[in-house]
Symmetry: C2
């Protein structure tokens, strides 16, 4: 597509612009030992690159700046980058020390990633699909509400509330709890869903398509045992339901958002970017979209979000037991240090996966 010299020039423009944040002119480009031609030649090549959409001009008599397409070319031909030794050590250290609650580990991981790259970092927590239920508990917390607590195989705790009928006796609740414990032990949330839809009485059935699922409620018990059955079914539905995309629970850990303040001269831009970062739902779906396209980098306007037009996102999934369970990412300006970000994201995602597999 691009001959060797043009490609070299484009690369030089990109790296130089990343380093200096300034438009780069032909004189700067020829300073690169790999480019052994005169400025005039470089100029004509740069004009061609501009015609092809790789570069732009802020105005006449200014140097060139890469377009999103230019960055894209640069990133695609980047050799798989390695993290610098200092960073590598930092990651090692971190995960050697990391322990305790899942949430804490994830939050700290986002901080680590942000420190490594000097940009904002995002950690999307693992879905529970690969985790099994180790233990469960059903407790009444109000006359008409009960809580299911699940301890998962990695030590995380999941929690769902179900509406119950006021007439439900403590005894019934206890029996339902016992049944539930037996039913859930060793299962994943996905398997629970299967149990629900296959047998186990009051399956959702008809209304599954367009209409929103009714809130789980248990009808007044006539037969005692039937009430217990219904309660168990409601609990299962609730647990399985949480995994559905209807969840607006989308949690996400953002670290180093403050660093974005330095990246953009315009206060307005900073404000918009930070605002987006506060809406976890938007962040999650953004990352999901990028990953769905098989990309690991999204540059400028490639994703649709207007306020992030001046940002790039570098993502990597992390795996537990060969299954993708979550994602981490770095958000920086389009003129970010891509190789560093790619390296950091790759290394951290690997370590994080291993860590979670170990059971934190």
């Amino acid at each position: 597509m691009l001959d060797a010299r043009k490609s070299a020039i484009l690369n030089k423009v990109v790296t130089e612009h990343i380093a200096t944040a300034q438009p780069v002119g032909s004189a700067h480009v020829v300073r690169d030992p790999l480019i052994d031609v005169s400025p005039a030649t470089v100029r004509s090549d740069m004009a061609a690159l501009e015609r092809d959409g790789y570069l732009t001009h802020p105005h006449t008599s200014a140097g060139r700046v890469p377009t999103d397409k230019g960055y894209r070319f640069f990133v695609d031909q980047l050799s798989p980058p390695a993290l610098d030794p200092a960073g590598e050590e930092q990651v090692q250290d971190f995960f050697a020390r990391a322990h305790g609650e899942l949430e804490r580990v994830l939050r700290d991981t986002s901080k680590l990633l942000s420190q490594l790259t000097d940009y904002a970092a995002v950690v999307v927590p693992p879905t529970h699909d690969t985790l099994t239920v180790r233990s469960s508990l059903l407790v009444r917390i109000a006359p008409r509400a009960a809580l299911i607590v699940l301890v998962l195989s990695n030590g995380a705790v999941d929690r769902h509330s179900v509406e119950i009928d006021e007439s439900t006796t403590d005894d019934q609740l206890e029996r339902a709890g016992a049944r539930l414990a037996a039913l859930l032990a060793g299962r994943t949330a996905g398997e629970v869903e299967q149990v629900v839809t296959s047998g186990a009485g009051a399956a959702p059935g008809a209304g599954a398509g367009g209409t929103p699922p009714a809130p789980p409620a248990v009808p007044a018990a006539v037969d005692c045992e039937a009430a217990v059955d219904a309660l168990v079914a409601a609990c299962c539905r609730e647990i399985a339901g949480r995994q559905l995309p209807s969840q607006d629970t989308d949690e996400v850990y953002v670290g180093g958002a403050a660093r974005m303040a330095e990246q953009f001269p315009a206060v307005q831009t900073v404000r918009e970017v930070l605002s987006i970062l506060e809406q976890s739902f938007v962040v999650v779906s953004l990352i999901r979209d990028v990953l769905a396209q098989g990309q690991s980098v999204s540059i400028g306007t490639e994703h649709g979000l207007a306020p992030l037009a001046e940002c790039s996102l570098v993502v990597a999934p992390y795996e537990v037991a060969d299954e993708v369970v979550g994602t981490i990412g770095v958000l920086g300006p389009t003129r970010m240090n891509y190789s560093q970000a790619l390296a950091a994201v790759a290394v951290v995602s690997q370590h994080l996966g291993r860590q979670l597999a170990a059971g934190s």
Copy 2:
């Protein structure tokens, strides 16, 4: 201290400066109908106010700007402010709708408070001291680690991990779990602590003063029942220990941090403020300090944090069952709208307390 006219002038300067963010001159001040003197008189009064430390001068030939002391005077003589009807309705709406997990409610509350005021908002979650344990569960999550899960009376779930000896049998664990359940049910964390220090075998004893408490570990069991005893004691210690100030778990919900970006012209300031907001520990202790001094507003340099010299913090505790359990706050520039912030914080803290008492 200040005669009526000086006081009026100071008030006018403060309100005007809050509204316009500009230094305000004598001409602006006399526009106030309450001040019926000439600009020259105002000028001499302002000079006096400056001598007394209530106002400053960016430079000669500029208007006056309030100092921290000036703001302090203004805030202290502010009549207890009421929230505007629109805001009031928003709060009503919010708490009528609020439901679900504790964390979600708190996070959303921080967003609400931020929306009401247009500044950043902070919610410090309730300590568990007034909550009782409704149910508990002890599960092994790794060969050498177990997890205590507590369901609290308001439906929240608390979780602590304890180190256990590898030789501990599942049977022992189960018995310890049963003992623990009986011991904890209906108790608050504070009461658990009392149980630990009073009887129950392996109390910390000597090392309680200066040295950090040893990590909970259970020695290899010789006698089976003794091992169970020790395990129970370790669990209790862990639960009680969490309430000690040694906790660096200090969680905090920050909403609307992005709004700070617009409040300061200097990017550096924005960066520093956001940075502070990301360190939950700092935020928590800051709020604690302010409250400990019986203040509800901290202005500029009154708290010691240099990066927040241009910020003010408005806080209010919230109560459940007449006990202060947590705090909410608003962080804005020193020239923030204090009456609005005070009103919002007061109203929201009241509603939040009521909401939590109801059992979310």
